[in-house]
């Protein structure tokens, strides 16, 4: 897929504090690209730079091969959906949706048709004459999406579109917005700080860390092959165990052997490694299992806590050698205080070995 929207080494600082640092990113045509990050990571600023509400201190924005860095928001033809909806309270639902159509030189009938179409996209047929105050928060956000889509923008930008909704409305609205975006087939950039939401709606997810792009990829890639300790910890649960690289030690991903406390676990190396290098072994809860004590290749320890989460039960185990690891297992497999052993799950997610110095890679 060709890149529709490209950011090249974008920088932005506010009052001397850098918020975006040489950030490059490309959105492919028709994909939903989620910008995921903690608060202060620069994700909203990045979206505002793309929308044209902030101008970057350095770097360029390219849309379909043409530079748009200096173009004002009104001429970018991007649809924008705001956290607090930002509907026009003095206008009806139809007038809100028609706002972006006024400059298209459409006659009254054509405009009404486009408004009805846009409202149908978000399942709000027949809401034209309603006042925006009369409808629920989820409906207001869908009106905002219809308003943004009506002028047929090239890219849809959504700034934490669900964060202002009650939890019970959030799931439904998320599904509805995702469906509307799919129906139109528009390229969308969706900002959120929630990993679950990012994985739910994103074809790809870009993780921002302190104004830098930490990693971009499909949810599967981010979860299974995080490029850094930060990404590994930010996306899902991860335990880090101190270990030493065994034989093989080059940068090839595969079944390299690592030692930790005398047990040899298979692992994938992140970056070049030599035998004897100190590493942090990242382990996902479902990548390990509880086994009988003294099982060859296992590490012994004691259960610190047990957390039942429905689909799995998570046991936090303090290992005798060093470190703590969270293990997903059956609900009755152990109790706090029990002596257990932990081993890699055969065929499970391969542990990943990060060079010790590469904490912020």
């Amino acid at each position: 897929m060709p890149a529709l929207l490209e950011l090249r080494e974008v920088e932005k600082s506010f009052g001397g504090t850098p918020v975006l640092r040489r950030l490059s990113l490309a959105a492919e045509e028709g994909e939903v690209l989620v910008l995921l990050g903690a608060s202060g990571s620069g994700k909203t600023t990045l979206l505002r730079v793309i929308a044209g509400f902030e101008s970057p201190d350095a770097g360029r924005l390219i849309l379909g091969g043409e530079e748009i860095t200096a173009l004002p928001p009104a001429r970018r033809r991007f649809g924008m959906v705001f956290q607090h909806y930002a509907l026009f309270p003095h206008l009806s639902v139809a007038e809100n949706v028609a706002f972006g159509l006024e400059r298209h030189g459409l006659d009254r009938e054509e405009r009404a048709r486009r408004v009805a179409e846009a409202l149908a996209l978000v399942d709000l047929d027949g809401f034209e004459e309603r006042r925006v105050q009369e409808i629920s928060g989820g409906q207001q956000q869908r009106v905002a999406v219809a308003r943004a889509l009506a002028p047929e923008p090239t890219v849809l930008l959504l700034d934490e579109p669900l964060s202002n909704l009650d939890p019970e409305l959030r799931d439904r609205t998320r599904r509805e917005l995702r469906e509307a975006i799919e129906r139109v087939g528009i390229t969308a950039l969706w900002v959120t700080h929630e990993q679950q939401e990012a994985f739910d709606v994103g074809d790809r997810v870009a993780i921002l860390e302190a104004g830098r792009l930490a990693q971009v990829g499909s949810p599967e890639t981010l979860y299974q092959e995080p490029a850094s300790r930060f990404v590994a910890g930010f996306v899902g649960r991860a335990s880090f165990l101190p270990a030493v690289a065994a034989d093989g030690g080059t940068a090839i991903l595969g079944d390299e052997r690592f030692v930790g406390g005398g047990a040899r676990w298979p692992a994938a190396a992140v970056g070049p490694l030599n035998p004897g290098d100190e590493v942090d072994l990242m382990v996902r809860p479902e990548g390990v299992r509880l086994v009988a004590l003294e099982t060859p290749g296992s590490l012994s320890g004691s259960v610190l806590s047990r957390r039942y989460a429905g689909e799995a039960t998570f046991y936090r185990v303090r290992l005798d050698e060093a470190g703590e690891v969270v293990v997903a297992a059956g609900p009755e497999d152990a109790r706090p205080g029990d002596r257990v052993a932990v081993a890699p799950r055969v065929g499970g997610l391969l542990p990943r070995a990060f060079p010790r110095s590469a904490g912020a890679a």
Partner: protein, 351 residues
């Protein structure tokens, strides 16, 4: 139950403070109870000068609203939306005229723009004219003073309104292809309607009730307030009451009209949680210094009356006659005020 009692108490208080005097005036105007008659009303209706005064009160007030808005609204936008050196201090200073009692403002204007005022004589000297370039008299003078002392209502209301406005609403309009003018007329101003209506109402009412400016600058140009005083001075007490009732009726009509304008439908959707109003940082030097010059220039003009009063209060008695600027400044007036009992008493009474 408590709320209802409170409501009754409030209604009673309002009736006593507002309704009772109005009723008394109305009763006196129709001669109740001594000599019930509508003759004074009939006479009022038959006199063209009364109609003229009523009409002038109305249009002076309407024009005051327009002029005060024309000064106050742009000023509020400049101070709320742009960044320039001195913005914070000036922003507070330009609200000062509201602290100036009406008569004091009028006196200050006399010293500034009157026939022998600073500005008048400055312009006269600059252009080498034989006479003063203008006379501070009539409707123009009244409107000037009104615009000066009442723009603050618009300035304060609109600034508060702009501070509460969710900036993303305007950004949404921009993202939908609206230029600055369309955002202003289709989004910002409609959203500021409660603020504008409130300021217009206050200006209209204050202007209707304004006395010092028409009294001092009006000359032969009578409005209702000066007409009432004139009637009273002529001994036509009943006519003065009729005029008062008419003025009150005009005020109520104005109130009703403006309330209609501000009716309902302005609740803000979604709220503005956690969003600070965004101030445009003017990047281009021209825009930046333009805004600064505008801010400082306007503020200077608006603060001139205060500065004038301050200056004049420092001029010792009979030392300033024909010079453009006072030759001598000291604190002798203040000393005299504090040491002479008959001069100090009115100050204490005012306090």
């Amino acid at each position: 139950m408590r709320g209802r009692l409170g409501g009754i108490a409030l209604a009673a208080l309002l009736t006593w403070l507002v309704g009772y005097p109005l009723l008394l005036t109305l009763l006196e105007a129709v001669g109740v109870p001594a000599d019930p008659t509508l003759a004074h009303f009939a006479e009022f209706v038959s006199r063209p000068d009364e109609w003229a005064a009523l009409w002038r009160s109305f249009w002076i007030s309407a024009a005051s609203v327009a002029l005060a808005g024309a000064v106050g609204v742009p000023l509020a936008f400049v101070f709320a939306r742009t960044h320039f050196p001195g913005r914070a201090v000036l922003g507070a200073l330009v609200a000062l005229p509201v602290a100036l009692p009406p008569l004091v403002g009028v006196i200050a204007f006399l010293f500034l723009y009157g026939e022998s005022g600073f500005v008048t004589r400055g312009v006269q000297a600059l252009l080498g004219l034989d006479d003063a370039p203008w006379r501070l008299q009539g409707a123009g003078a009244i409107l000037l003073v009104h615009a000066y002392s009442m723009y603050v209502y618009f300035y304060l209301f609109v600034r508060a309104g702009l501070a509460r406005l969710d900036p993303s609403v305007e950004e949404a309009a921009a993202a939908l292809g609206a230029g600055r003018w369309r955002i202003l007329t289709r989004v910002t101003l409609p959203l500021l309607r409660p603020a504008l209506a409130g300021a217009a109402l206050l200006t209209f009412m204050t202007s209707l009730a304004s006395f010092s400016a028409p009294y001092i600058f009006g000359g032969g140009f009578r409005v209702m307030t000066t007409q009432i005083v004139a009637s009273k001075l002529n001994g036509e007490v009943a006519m003065a009451q009729v005029e008062t009732v008419t003025l009150a009726a005009l005020a109520l009509a104005g109130l009703a009209g403006l309330l209609r304008l501000d009716r309902g439908r302005m609740e803000v959707v979604g709220g503005v949680r956690g969003l600070a109003p965004r101030r445009r940082v003017l990047r281009r030097p021209v825009a930046r210094w333009g805004a600064a010059a505008l801010g400082w220039g306007v503020a200077l003009v608006l603060l001139l009356p205060h500065l004038t009063l301050l200056l004049i209060s420092l001029v010792p008695r009979s030392t300033w006659t024909v010079e453009l600027l006072p030759p001598q400044l000291d604190l002798s007036n203040y000393r005299e005020l504090l040491t002479t009992p008959e001069r100090l008493r009115p100050v204490l009474n005012s306090l």
